[in-house]
Amino acid sequence: MTVITTTKDVQNLTLTLVAEFDATPDRVWEVWEDPRKLERWWGPPTFPATFTRHDFVVGGESRYFMTGPAGETPRGWWRIDAIDKPRRLDFANGLAGDDGEPTPDVEPMSGHVTFEAIDSGTRMTAVTHFIDTMQMQTFLDMGMQDGMTQAIGQIDTLLSPAQV
């Protein structure tokens, strides 16, 4: 059974997701490394992603677009900053213009993902760090917010002393 937990750190604009999968680290790594697998999960169901480039090596870059319900195709890119297969992956994820190339005035988000073998399979920890709200908004405007529900009901948990 897949177990998913998340932590929102408002002070540091960081989101952490921990998911435990019933599969080996090698197999979980594959869904990041293989662009055909990656595009089956990167975009929300209403905005499936297509990766036109995926150089999965340190310093390598990716280009992708998503296809929205109205036929819109927001574009994005990755840059791989660190790879330790199948344990760790650091990457930057930015927005691209209509030409598919990085938009210079929007800083990329940074993602740090670790894969740890556990008895039941793999614990994957994905940490996303944002720089500011403009960045967060711009990415959401890309359409990824479509179909998502607001998570404001968890305010009390978030405001508990342990997390603030």
Binding site: T6, L17, F21, D22, P44, Q137, L140, Q150, A151
Partner: protein, 116 residues
Amino acid sequence: MVVRSGLAEDEIDRIFGALADPTRRDILGRAIRREQSVSALARRYAMSFAAVQKHVAVLERATLITKERSGREQIVHANRATVGKAVTLLGNYEQLWIQRAKQIADILANPKGEQT
């Protein structure tokens, strides 16, 4: 535009601008735990009373805290509603990543992508 955070952009900028400074984050964190007097806060930081007051003013402008006078003291309270709104943006990304993790689980259960 598909922004559904319920906040105007300049309001969001003020909130996160206020949270961009470590002293202000610390002040807010303390105020969330319990109300604080400005003078008690000022004793905690290696900076002048005026400097601490300035940080408090920034937090106040971002409506993250409210200030009230109690005798000769100024008491700082956290405004939970605003702090709560500030997490909404993160909440959207949280939903996105939960969805992603579920889709990964589906792929792992069905590697070839056959219809089930």
